[in-house]
Symmetry: C2
Subunit: 146 residues, 2 copies
Amino acid sequence: MANSRFAMATHIMTAVALHGDDDLMNSGELADSLNTNPVVVRRILSDLQKAGLIQTQAGRSGGAWLARKPEAINLHEIFAAVDDGELFAYNPNDPNKTCSLSCEIKSVLEPVFKAASSALAESLMSVRLSQLTEVLSKKCAGKKKK
Amino acid sequence: MANSRFAMATHIMTAVALHGDDDLMNSGELADSLNTNPVVVRRILSDLQKAGLIQTQAGRSGGAWLARKPEAINLHEIFAAVDDGELFAYNPNDPNKTCSLSCEIKSVLEPVFKAASSALAESLMSVRLSQLTEVLSKKCAGKKKK
DNA sequence: TTAAATGTAACTAACATTGTTACTATATGG
DNA sequence: CCATATAGTAACAATGTTAGTTACATTTAA
């Protein structure tokens, strides 16, 4: 692996969650926090929106807000939103039809891959976005947000 | 992700485990079973050897054999042998020092990443190579190995 | 001593990832 | 109503990863 979209998406979600309600956070502000380009942020926002985690508004004073309360969002939802791909890949080549092991290996690996992916998913599901924002509120206490 | 080295390495380990003891399985035979190039196999064998799972012998009638019995090898060992990289990646950019969230996010993500990686590792650790070879022996019963 | 095997370096092709520019569509404040 | 600030998205570049391939040195047994 490994791409950093889950880290970026979680960063975005916590930033939006911690942002005040008086105005919306926009992709430029988020890009500043991530130290990247606004288009990178908007691409991730697009994925989060498709997953029903974020809502956005275009136009002047537009930006992003959470579709749900942070207590009702778990980290696996964020992970799944930006990381569709499977965790494990099978051998991309065709099976060798003269080799019975080659023909059967995929069916043997499949339950192993599924169990491991589920274990990872359950771990991420057990953490709510609100838990991250609570920790961050404490860590950043006293440091005023701009 | 995802690369297919874990799938290939597990394929190799099961093939070597199921191979008769009278001669050694070599990279050409394994490459036939994986439908790939012998060098791809030898690269994976090299990783498995460094991890202490495989032993090899060069020269005429050389090849590979298991360093331990299949009952004493679990799938996480194979995974770790060929997939050093972390499962999750952090945002590669420097933190924005004017943003406290940006500075603290990594420390908040770290325990999440570790817990999820451990959950995945424990799932893979719970499966022994011998379990795969047993299933394969049954599935391939009657189909004679060349 | 010859042939068959491992070990490994160097290279290619295909693909993924991130960042960037440029543009359109949209909505708001004045 | 218009100017401006925003999202949305396509197109492209730079970089890195992956799998495959060729080539060759080294090792070992027949």
